[in-house]
C-alpha cells in the first residue's frame, strides 16, 4: 500500500510543527536507532483543556504525517479525551497507512500519553508507567533505549 493523499498532505504541509516555549507537558518517544523520534509539546489550561499543541519529528513520511494529524485531533480537547486517542483512530483519520508504518501511529499515541504524563508529573500526580509499543513490557525493555552513537 502506498501513502494516501491525506498522508502526503500532512507530510508536505504538516500542521502544528514547532515548540511551545511555555509548554506544561512535553513527551518524547522513539529513538534515532529505529529511525523515528517524536516530541510533543502541550499547553494545557487549568481546566485540563489542551489549548495548544506542537510537535517535532525525526522520521519517515508516515512519522511526520501521524504526528501532524494527531496534533490536530487533540487540539482543543480535554486531557481525558486526548488520553483516549487510539493509534487506530490516527490511522483511520489518515485514510490508512502501509502495514510497515502502523508503528508510527503507535508512536504518535505514545507521544501524546507521555506528554500528558509529564503534565501530571509536573502537577504532582503519579501516573502508571506506560507499556512499550514494541514488546508490551512495562518499561523494562530495551526497545527504546538511547542510541549509543557519536
Amino acid at each position: 500500500m502506498e501513502y494516501t493523499q491525506k498522508v502526503l498532505d500532512h507530510f508536505t504541509n504538516p500542521r502544528n510543527v514547532g515548540e511551545i516555549e511555555d509548554a506544561n507537558g512535553v513527551g518524547e518517544v522513539g529513538n534515532a536507532k529505529c529511525g523515528d523520534i517524536m516530541k510533543m509539546y502541550l499547553k494545557i489550561s487549568d481546566d485540563d483543556i489542551i489549548t495548544d499543541v506542537k510537535f517535532k519529528t525525526y522520521g519517515c513520511g508516515a512519522a511526520i504525517a501521524t504526528s501532524s494529524v494527531a496534533t490536530e485531533m487533540i487540539k482543543g480537547k480535554s486531557v481525558d479525551e486526548a488520553l483516549r486517542l487510539k493509534n487506530s483512530e490516527v490511522v483511520e483519520e489518515l485514510g490508512g497507512l502501509p502495514s510497515a508504518k502502523i508503528h508510527c501511529s503507535v508512536l504518535a499515541e505514545e507521544a501524546i500519553k507521555k506528554a500528558i504524563g509529564d503534565y501530571y508529573t509536573r502537577k504532582g500526580i503519579f501516573v502508571e508507567e506506560q507499556k512499550c509499543c514494541c514488546c508490551e513490557n512495562d518499561g523494562a525493555c530495551k526497545c527504546h533505549q538511547e542510541p549509543e552513537e557519536e
Binding site: A32, G35, K56, E150
Partner: protein, 395 residues
C-alpha cells in the same frame, strides 16, 4: 515549482538505449523462432545469440564459450554460489564480505542452513576489503571467494585483481558480483584472475530480465536450472533472444563510450559531493573519495531520515534512493552503511544519487535549487536538530 524530472537512480536501473531497443525489436517480431529449432526462421535467433555471446565475451576478455545467459543478476549470483558449492568435493567454506548485495548474502545464509560455512569479511570505513584479510581467511576447506566488484550503495570499488591473485595462488575459485561494474568500469577477467562473474543488462542501459554469468573454462558448477540443452546444457530454458541481443548491444555501447562518459560522470559526481558538503552542514560522504563508481554519490544528512528526504525529492520530480530502514523494508538501515561503521541514526539519513550518461549539469543545478531547502525544512522539524541548535549534541 518546475515540472522538470531528473533521474538520479541509475544504480537501481537504467532506461534502455534507443539503439538497443531498435536492435531488439525484430526478435519480438519477424525473427521470433526458437533458437533450438531446425528451420531457417530459428537460425536467425541462433545466430543472434551466438553473436551476442561473442560480443560480450570480447568486452570482458573471455572466450564466448565462457558466457552463459541468465534471467537476472540475482540468478547469476545464486548460480555462482550454489553451483560451485554443490559441485565441490573439496570443502564447504565460502569467503565473502559483509557489504555484498542481498543476492549474495541471502544465498550465503541459505547455504549456511545447509551446513556450509561462510566467513563474512569486514570492510574499512570506505567500504574496502583488505586483500590480506581474504588471504588470512582461507583454510583447506575454502572452495570459493566471492567479493563484489563495486558496491551498489556506496560505489566503492574493491581490489579485485589482488583478491583474484590470492584466490589463484591458493587454488580457490574467485567469483565477483559485477552487476554495478559491468559497462561502467573496465573488466578483464583474464588479467584480474576472475573465475566467475555476474552481470545484469538493465544496469548498463540494456533491458531488464536478462543477465550473464562468465564461468571460466574448467570451473566445476552444478546446474541451477535443469531441462533442455540451452547454454551448453548448463542453464535450461528457451533463451530470451531480444533480451540477449539487447544486452550485447548495450554492453558494447557502454564500453565504447566508457572513457568519455566516465570523465564527465566523475566531474559531475565530484561537483555534487563538493557543493553539497560545502553548502549544507552536517553532511558526510559515504564510500571512498576516489575508488568509487564514476556515477555514485552517497551522502548522509545528519538529523533527518532518508525516506522523508526521498519523498520531498520525489515531489520535486527528482528520483533517488536511500539506505534508510524505511526504504529497505526492514527495521535496520542498510547493512552496507552499518558495515562501514555508521551509527544507525546517520545511516537512516543516507541519500544515494547514482548518475547516468544522460545526466547534465542542468540536472545538478536543479538538484542544488531544491536539496538545501528540503534538508533545512526536515531539520527544522527534527527534535535531534533542535538539540544540536541548543548545543546539547553539537560537535
Amino acid at each position: 515549482m518546475s515540472c522538470k524530472s531528473v533521474y538520479f537512480d541509475h544504480g537501481a536501473t537504467t532506461f534502455t538505449r534507443p539503439e538497443v531497443l531498435a536492435e531488439m525489436l525484430p526478435y519480438f517480431g519477424q525473427m521470433y523462432g526458437n533458437p533450438s529449432s531446425i528451420y531457417k526462421l530459428a537460425k536467425s535467433s541462433k545466430y543472434a545469440i551466438d553473436n551476442a555471446r561473442s560480443t560480450i565475451a570480447e568486452l570482458i576478455n573471455a572466450d564466448s564459450k565462457e558466457i552463459y545467459f541468465t534471467g537476472s543478476g540475482s540468478e547469476g549470483d545464486n548460480w555462482a554460489l550454489k553451483g560451485v558449492m554443490y559441485a565441490s568435493t573439496k570443502g564447504n567454506h565460502i569467503i565473502t564480505t559483509s557489504i555484498e548485495h542481498h543476492a549474495i548474502l541471502h544465498t550465503c545464509k541459505y547455504l549456511e542452513k545447509e551446513g556450509y560455512k561462510v566467513t563474512y569479511l569486514p570492510v574499512d570505513e570506505y567500504g574496502r576489503v583488505n586483500p590480506k584479510d581474504v588471504e588470512a581467511a582461507i583454510t583447506d576447506k575454502t572452495v570459493l571467494i566471492s567479493v563484489m566488484f563495486a558496491n551498489n550503495e556506496i560505489g566503492t570499488i574493491q581490489p579485485i585483481k589482488e583478491i583474484g591473485e590470492i584466490a589463484r595462488r591458493h587454488g580457490v575459485y574467485f567469483h565477483t558480483d559485477a552487476v554495478q561494474a559491468a559497462g561502467h568500469i573496465p573488466i578483464d577477467v583474464e588479467d584480474m584472475n576472475i573465475d566467475i562473474l555476474t552481470m545484469s543488462a538493465h544496469k548498463f542501459n540494456g533491458p531488464k530480465g536478462v543477465g550473464a554469468l562468465y564461468i571460466k573454462k574448467g570451473v566445476k558448477m552444478y546446474n541451477l536450472i535443469e531441462g533442455g540443452s540451452q547454454e551448453r546444457k548448463r542453464r535450461a530454458g528457451t533463451e530470451n533472444v531480444p533480451g540477449i541481443v539487447g544486452m550485447a548491444k548495450a554492453l558494447k555501447m557502454s564500453c565504447e563510450h566508457m572513457e568519455e562518459v566516465n570523465k564527465n560522470l566523475i566531474r559531475m559526481r565530484d561537483r555534487i559531493i563538493k557543493e553539497v558538503t560545502e553548502n549544507i552542514p552536517y553532511v558526510k560522504l559515504n564510500g571512498h573519495p576516489t575508488q568509487r563508481l564514476p556515477g555514485n554519490v552517497n551522502l548522509s544528512f545528519k538529523y533527518i531520515e532518508g525516506e522523508s528526504l526521498l519523498l520531498f525529492l520525489d515531489i520535486n520530480n527528482i528520483c533517488a534512493s536511500s539506505g534508510s530502514a524505511c526504504t529497505s523494508g526492514s527495521l535496520d538501515p542498510s547493512h552496507v552503511l552499518l558495515a562501514i561503521g555508521l551509527p544507525h541514526g546517520i545511516a537512516h539519513g543516507s541519500l544515494r544519487l547514482s548518475l547516468g550518461y544522460e545526466n547534465t549539469d542542468d540536472d545538478i543545478d536543479y538538484l542544488f535549487t531544491v536539496l538545501p531547502g528540503i534538508v533545512d525544512r526536515l531539520r527544522q522539524m527534527s527534535p535531534l536538530y533542535e538539540e544540536v541548535l541548543k548545543g546539547d549534541k553539537g560537535e
